[in-house]
Amino acid sequence: MDFALLHDAFWGLTFDGIALGAIYALISLGYTLVYGVLRLINFAHSEVFMIGTFAALVAASGIMGVKVEDDPRTGGSMILTLVVCLVVAMLASAITAVLVEIVAYRRLRQRGATKLATLISAIGVSISLVELFRIITDSLPREFPRIMEKTFLFSYAGADIRNDKVIVIIAAGLMMFALERFITKTRLGKGIRAVSMDENTSTLMGVNINRVITVTFFAGGLMAGAAAFFYILVYENTSFKVGFFLGISAFTAAVLGGIGNLKGALFGGFALGLMETWTSAVFGTAWKAVISFIILVLVLLIKPTGLFGESIQQARV
C-alpha cells in the first residue's frame, strides 16, 4: 500500500480521475435512461459506445482528411475537426441505439416477451456487434490521429493540467447539463419521465410510448457518442472490444448512483473514476477493480437502490 503516493500526487490523480469519471458518467446515462423507461439493462449500450469511437475515426480521416502521420491541427481547423468528429460520433451512436431498439427490443416488447427474453436479445445484439467489428477490423486496434497538440495548461499543487482533459471535463459537463434540461424542461423529456413513473397511465394520458422509447435510446446514444469521442481524443485508439471494459465500468457507475436515476449516473461515473484512480495509486492498478467493486457491494448492502434511488423523476435538481 502506497498512501504516500496518493498524498504526494493527490491533485494530479484527482484531475485525471475526474476526466475518466466524465467519460464513465456520459456512458452510464444511456444505461440509466433506458432502465428508467423500460426497466431493461441495455447490454448493447457498450457497443453503441464502441461504434461511436469508430465513427469519430471515420470522421477524422474520411471527412476531415486527417492522416495519422500529420502534425496536430491548430486554430479554426482544429476546432472544426473536433466539432465534426464529436457530432458524427454522437449521431452514429444515437442512430445505432435507435436501430438496436427497433431490431432487438421493440417487437419483443410489443409481443409481451419476458424480461429474460429481452435481456438475451440485448446480449445477442452486443455479441453480434462486437464480432462484426472484429471481422471488419481484422481483430486489430485502430489508431486515432492526434488532432490537437497535448500541452500542459498550468500546474496546480503538483498536478499538471492537460488541455485535452480540460476539454473533456468541460464539454462533458455541458452535455450533462443539456440532457438534464431536456429531461426536465421539454415536452418529450416530460414524456420520458411520465413513462418511467407509470407506463400505462402515461399511455392513457396520450403519451406515445414508442416515440418516447425511441427518444430515450436516441438521447442515451448521443451521450455514449460524446463519451466515445472524448475517449478517443484522450486515449487515441479504439478496438472492437473497447466497449466491454468501459461498458462494465459505466454500468457499475449507474448502479452505484441508483440505476434509473440521472443524477445518480452522473455521481456514480465521477465517483468510480476517482475511486479507480485513487485505489490504483494506493493498492496498485491490478487492485482497482477489486477495491472499486467491494465499495460498490458495500454501498448496495447499505442502500440497495444505489445512492440516489431508482427513478428518473427523481432527477430534478
Binding site: L13, S139, L140, P141, F152, Y235, K241, A286, K288, A289
Partner: protein, 376 residues
C-alpha cells in the same frame, strides 16, 4: 415415450462413438487425396491478431511452394484450426484434427496453454508439429517425439530483455509493469531475477487497462530510468503514449508481445526509441523483399509471421523430399535442417531449436531496427 427417447439418444451416442473409434485413423493411415498442412492458433476472439499473423505466414509459404512446385500433391488451402488460444477450446478440437488423415503436419499451436492439451493427442496420432510461438519451457514433455519449436523459450527471453536494458541504460533503475497474462507474468519473473537489485518498483495493469495515470505516477515517484513492460502491443502502445504525454522521457522496453508494426502504428512518435527483445524476427527485417511480396499478395506480416513461414517451409521441404505420411515427415524435420528466414531450423532431441539467439531491436524513424543478438 420418454424412456424410448432416452434409449434412442443413448443408442445414437453409442453408434457415433463406435464409428468414431472404428474409423479414427491410426498414425499410419494413408491419405487418398491431397496432403494438408494445418495451422492451429487463435483465429477468432481477442487473441486473434497473433494467430492471423502466423496463419498468413503459413499461407504465404504454401502459395510460394505451390507456385514453384506445380505438380506437388499438396492442398493449396491451409487446414485452419481455431483454438482461440484457449485450452478449453483446444481440448475438443485436437482429436478432430488428429482424425483428419490428410493433415500430415501442423504449424502451431500458437499458445502454450492450448499446446499442453493438444500435444498428447497429436503424439498418439503421430502428427508432427512445429510451434512458431509457444514459449513455455515444459512443452517437450507433452509432445515428446512429435514436438518441435522454432523459437527459444521464456527461460532465454527474460534475461535477454533485462540485459538489453542494462546494456543500453547506464546504471539503470528499472520499473516493471506486466499485463497479468500468463505470458507476461512468466516473462517478468525471469526479467526480475536477472535485474536483481536494479528494480525500483512494480505494477500490474491487467489486460484491458486504458488509463495508466496511477502507474505513471508510481514510475515518476520511483525515479526509475527505464520501464520494462511485459505484455502485448496494443496495451503497450496505449501505455507508452500516456507515459510520453505525461512528460516522461525514460527508456521504455518490452518483449516479443510488443514486437509488431501495429505497435508503431498505434503509438506513433511515442514508439521512437523503444527497445524490444524477441526470439522472433519481423518479416520486414528478415527479408524486406519477401515482406513486400507478402503485402502484395494481400497478407500483412506481423509478429511470428517469419517463424510460421519457416516452420511451414520445413514441412513443405519434407514433402518435396518424397515424404507423404506423418511418420516420415516427422522423421525428416526431426533429423534434417532447413535454412529459414529467421534462422536455420535444426532441432535437438527435445525438439528445441539450437543455435538461435534472442534479438534486440530499437524503433527508429517509425521502423523496427535490428540491433543484433543480445549477448550475455
Amino acid at each position: 415415450m420418454k424412456k424410448n427417447r432416452v434409449l434412442a439418444v443413448v443408442a445414437a451416442v453409442a453408434i457415433a462413438t463406435t464409428s468414431f473409434v472404428a474409423f479414427a485413423p491410426s498414425a499410419s493411415a494413408a491419405c487418398s487425396s491431397k496432403l494438408k498442412i494445418a495451422y492451429q492458433g487463435p483465429l477468432t476472439g481477442p487473441e486473434a491478431a497473433l494467430g492471423i499473423n502466423e496463419l498468413n505466414g503459413v499461407k504465404f509459404a504454401l502459395k510460394r511452394f505451390l507456385a514453384a512446385n506445380k505438380s506437388a500433391n499438396v492442398d493449396p488451402v491451409v487446414y485452419e484450426v481455431d483454438d482461440q488460444g484457449d485450452p478449453a477450446v483446444a481440448g475438443p478440437i485436437a482429436p478432430k484434427v488428429a482424425a483428419e488423415e490428410c493433415v500430415v503436419a501442423l504449424v502451431g499451436p500458437a499458445y502454450s496453454g492450448a499446446s499442453k492439451v493438444s500435444l498428447p493427442v497429436y503424439l498418439s496420432a503421430g502428427l508432427p508439429i512445429i510451434t512458431p510461438s509457444a514459449t513455455n519451457p515444459t512443452l517437450p514433455s507433452f509432445g515428446k517425439s512429435i514436438f518441435h519449436r522454432a523459437v527459444l523459450t521464456d527461460d532465454y527471453q527474460g534475461p535477454a530483455l533485462a540485459r538489453l536494458v542494462t546494456q543500453n541504460v547506464k546504471n539503470a533503475k528499472v520499473f516493471l509493469v506486466n499485463d497479468a497474462s500468463d505470458y507476461a507474468v512468466g516473462l517478468q519473473k525471469t526479467v526480475d531475477i536477472t535485474l536483481a537489485g536494479r528494480v525500483v518498483g512494480k505494477d500490474v495493469t491487467p489486460t484491458g487497462t486504458t488509463d495508466f495515470t496511477a502507474t505513471i505516477a508510481k514510475i515518476k515517484k520511483s525515479k526509475a530510468t527505464a520501464v520494462i513492460y511485459s505484455g502485448y502491443f496494443s496495451q503497450a502502445a496505449v501505455f507508452v503514449k500516456q507515459l510520453r504525454d505525461s512528460g516522461s522521457k525514460i527508456v521504455f522496453a518490452s518483449g516479443d508481445g510488443t514486437l509488431d508494426n501495429q505497435f508503431i502504428k498505434l503509438a506513433r512518435k511515442a514508439a521512437e526509441g523503444v527497445l524490444l527483445s524477441a526470439p522472433a524476427i519481423p518479416m520486414e527485417t528478415a527479408s524486406p523483399k519477401l515482406a513486400a511480396e507478402m503485402v502484395k499478395a494481400g497478407w500483412t506480416p506481423g509478429v511470428y509471421t517469419t517463424e510460421s513461414f519457416d516452420a511451414a517451409n520445413f514441412f513443405l521441404e519434407a514433402i518435396k523430399a518424397g515424404n507423404t505420411d506423418r511418420a516420415s515427415i516427422n522423421k525428416y524435420v526431426s533429423t534434417q535442417s532447413s535454412k529459414g528466414l529467421s534462422k536455420v531450423l535444426k532441432f535437438d532431441a527435445d525438439g528445441e531449436v539450437s543455435g538461435a539467439d534472442v534479438n534486440g531491436f530499437v524503433i527508429k524513424n517509425g521502423k523496427i531496427v535490428l540491433l543484433g543478438a543480445i549477448k550475455a
